[in-house]
């Protein structure tokens, strides 16, 4: 129940209620720092950040799509295709690297636009359109690269380094993309329109929102974020791989949903998505540190994901 007293208190609890995954993350971090003495060091935490970066950036892009009630299965493949495009045009193609970077982003956007056209004008279910793109983009990445990894241009590879002595650039990029996603979602017209479309597409249309145009923007953004993720990934590996980020779409979607979004649309926030991606990364990092046997890891990851979201939904039910 809402009360008028207790401003800060109820605000912070309201904030927690809306960003419930935070609680799960905190519990996880506490548990892991008790279980492993290596966990709570600065280097390790930065590692977790770096390891979360690619998933988080993909997931920010997926957040737009999921907020509109869609789904994007192609993000992993598009990330690989964009990275391959960059590396190939910069090496074989002989383009200067800034041009290659632009081309790589354009590739991501183009894939997103194709998805959007199929969905908004062809009326394909997003699942099918982006599943098709999952195959197409992956196939094109293989075709362009002839199946072999391509070295990244030196200049771009520095994206995998650190600034100063500590701060890894992937973490920086992740935070910047998160802020961009948050601003788009909360403060821009297309962002608000995404919520309206996901909440009630017909109402959005009858309120004069150009639904198809907003969908174009949505999937283009998802493609662009995927391209950034692909470039960050390739920079970390110093090489663009045609098989990179395979299967990451499920991680990205999981991060968004753990972060509080609903696959039926209308809900979701960039901050929640970040927390979702961090939960996944912390979990994998922790299992490595605890030397959980490889076969058991998948079991443990599954159990912990279920528990994390369970904690969240039960707590939410308690407050309501």
């Amino acid at each position: 129940m809402r009360s008028k007293q207790g401003g800060t208190d109820s605000r912070s609890s309201a904030w927690l209620a809306e960003n419930g995954a935070v609680a799960a993350l905190v519990v996880l971090v506490i548990a892991l720092s008790l279980l492993s003495s290596d966990f709570l060091s600065l280097t390790n935490l930065l590692n977790v950040g770096v390891q979360a970066a690619v998933t988080a950036i993909l997931a920010f892009g997926s957040t737009f799509v999921i907020v509109t009630g869609g789904i994007d299965l192609s993000v992993g493949s598009v990330a690989a295709l964009s990275a391959i495009t960059l590396a190939w045009t910069a090496t074989e193609g002989g383009l200067p690297w800034p041009a290659a970077v632009v081309l790589s982003l354009a590739t991501g956007v183009a894939c997103g636009l194709v998805n959007a056209v199929l969905i908004a004008y062809g009326k394909l279910p997003p699942f099918i359109a982006t599943l098709a793109m999952l195959g197409i983009a992956r196939g094109l990445a293989l075709v362009i690269s002839q199946g072999s990894p391509i070295s990244m241009p030196e200049a771009v590879s520095h994206l995998g380094d650190t600034v100063g002595r500590f701060l890894p650039i992937p973490v920086l990029v992740m935070l910047v993309m998160g802020v961009v996603a948050a601003i788009i979602l909360n403060r821009t017209f297309p962002g608000r329109a995404m919520y309206a479309i996901g909440g009630n597409e017909e109402a959005a249309r009858l309120s004069g929102i150009k639904v198809s145009r907003i969908k174009l923007i949505t999937y283009a953004l998802s493609g662009a974020f995927a391209a950034v993720a692909g470039v960050v990934l390739a920079s970390r590996l110093a090489s663009a791989q045609p098989q990179a980020a395979a299967g990451y779409e499920l991680d990205a979607i999981a991060a968004v949903v753990i972060g509080g979004a609903s696959l039926s649309g209308g809900k979701g926030r960039a901050l929640g998505t970040l927390v979702g991606a961090l939960i996944l990364a912390v979990l994998r990092n922790g299992l490595n540190l605890l030397s959980v046997s490889a076969f058991w890891q998948q079991v443990v990851i599954g159990v912990v994901i279920a528990l994390a979201v369970l904690v969240d939904t039960l707590r939410r039910r308690g407050t309501n």
């Binding site: 821009t188 017209f189 309206a196 959005a204 249309r205 009858l206 309120s207 004069g208």
Partner: protein
């Protein structure tokens, strides 16, 4: 009077299996309230959806100020100054009231949404329709009546030249209707052309200027608003309808439903009442009085904090719809789209939903029996459809309502709770429904009827309970109740009874 602000000529629109509009003409002048009248499914909503850009006509054209115009989408309509309140809510449940009010036209500064300006605009608009609600509240939390007021506020925010209202009063109580009419009169005097759709005939004389009557997708007459109601009904239905409330009191028996001390903090408090076999009990109150909440709690749809519910003397477990149904309770919910219908399924499917369990033998459903029963109910209520397989989504609003009621008629519930049962239903069908209520009580069943339509409550109930702010504040016998009497109770201020 002057040249028509908006004219529609020969509008025709077909859907698979049905010609919804067949060469309809309409002329709308500045400064008039033009009432559209017609049975459920006559084509009223289809007509206004063409004017607002939601549908494109198959044939015919629309002129504004004598010039033909193309209305391809909502944006076009808005640019032409046409603003519409649809019969079905067009709000986004998870967004705030303020954002819904600015949907599609968010105020922007430096490319970013100007939240402060949005809140300011929302406050002004809510003030104009006199609704007290925090603009930051998500729309989902508003009751249906207040959602309707938000819809009205949203339509007003466009400062339109043509304002179209599709059954805006269907879910409002007398108080809100008064507020709405005051607004409509002011706009009319400012020269706005207004289209007004209603099934409450008494509203026509009160607010209307002219009436266009639609029947089977054709415009059959244009008459002044002062036309006697009997004549309007004859034009609309094609035959006279005796629209007295045909309540036929039945013999009272045992108490079938008793509710004792039912309480949910923040919603209703210490509600106790009984409904006896053969009785129709009306539950009246202002919007937000908590009637719907009580009904849902009794039926087991929601939790409650304290109190007990008995059916035929047996105590019901709380929050268990299935048990309530087994005991013989039924609920026709107020929100037909959200709670009453599976929109994507067929009419037959929906009508059979409640009886699905009973029609199952050894796991298999008697589909044939289900269909026969559905066909009978559809016939009885005069549901206008192309067949039992038509998707409920594509029915007209009133016909959807008939399906919601119909599925409970098929179930033969011992105690039927009706929450706004005749919302959006045309006069002829209303009488049908009243007859069915009579038949239920004749055969020893009981009915608890919640309605915001005071004449209906007064006309159909044997006893009237009045709620205000979550409490029962009075009880009136049918023969002693008057509109003023009920209203006086309904505005009782029960201090501190509801946490606000």
């Amino acid at each position: 009077m002057s040249e028509a602000t908006l004219r529609a000529e020969g509008l025709t629109k077909s859907f698979p299996g049905v010609r919804a509009l067949d060469g309809v003409d309409l002329s709308l002048r500045a400064g008039e309230v033009h009432v559209l009248l017609g049975e459920n499914g006559a084509g009223k909503s289809t007509l206004i959806k063409i004017l607002s850009g939601a549908y494109r006509p198959d044939e015919g054209r629309v002129l504004m100020d004598g010039r033909p115009v193309e209305i391809r989408d909502a944006g076009d309509a808005r640019r032409l100054g046409i603003s519409t309140i649809y019969q079905e809510f067009n709000l986004v449940p998870d967004l705030s009231v303020a954002e819904n009010l600015s949907l599609g036209r968010l105020p922007r500064r430096f490319g970013l949404v100007d939240t402060a300006a949005m809140q300011r605009r929302a406050r002004e608009l809510l003030e104009r329709v006199d609704v007290r609600v925090d603009p930051r509240t998500p729309v989902r939390r508003l009751g249906i009546a207040r959602m309707q007021m938000v819809e009205i506020a949203k339509a007003l925010s466009l400062d339109a030249r043509v304002l179209i209202m599709d059954e805006p009063t269907a879910v409002l109580t007398t108080g809100e209707v008064g507020k709405l009419f005051a607004i409509v009169r002011r706009l009319r005097d400012e020269g706005v052309a207004i289209v007004f759709i209603t099934h409450h005939l008494e509203e026509i004389a009160e607010i209307g200027d002219r009436v266009t009557v639609l029947r089977d997708g054709r415009s059959v007459a244009e008459v002044p608003a002062g036309t006697p109601q009997d004549e309007l009904v004859r034009l609309m239905v094609g035959r006279p309808v005796d629209q007295q409330f045909p309540r036929r009191p039945a013999e009272l028996g045992e108490p079938l439903l008793s509710v004792r001390g039912l309480t949910r903090r923040g919603a209703f408090d210490d509600v106790s009442f009984e409904v006896r076999a053969g009785e129709v009990v009306g539950l009246a109150g202002l919007v937000g009085a908590g009637r719907t909440e009580v009904a849902r709690a009794v039926f087991g749809a929601d939790r409650y904090d304290a109190g007990e519910v008995f059916v035929r003397g047996r105590r019901l477990p709380p929050h268990d719809v299935h048990a309530a149904m087994e005991a013989g309770l039924g609920l026709v919910p107020e929100d037909r789209k959200g709670q009453g219908l599976v929109l994507g399924a067929g009419i037959g499917e929906n009508l059979g939903l409640v009886t699905l369990r009973d029609a199952t033998r050894a796991g298999f459903v008697d589909l044939k029996g289900q269909r026969t029963a559905a066909a009978r109910v559809a016939e009885q209520l005069g549901i206008r459809m192309t067949g039992l397989d038509q998707e409920v989504r594509t029915l007209s609003g009133g016909n959807q309502q008939k399906v919601v009621i119909g599925k409970w008629l098929a179930a033969q519930a011992g105690v039927l709770i009706l929450d706004e049962p005749t919302r959006g239903v045309d006069v002829a069908a209303k009488v049908e429904i009243y007859q069915l209520v009579n038949a239920l009580t004749d055969s020893g069943h009981a009915v608890l009827m919640i309605s915001s339509d005071l004449p209906e409550v007064l006309g159909m109930s044997d006893r009237i309970l009045v709620m205000a702010r979550g409490r029962l504040v009075g009880e009136l016998r049918a023969d002693e109740a008057t509109q003023d009497g009920v209203m006086a109770l309904a505005v009782t201020d029960v201090a501190g009874s509801r946490a606000e």
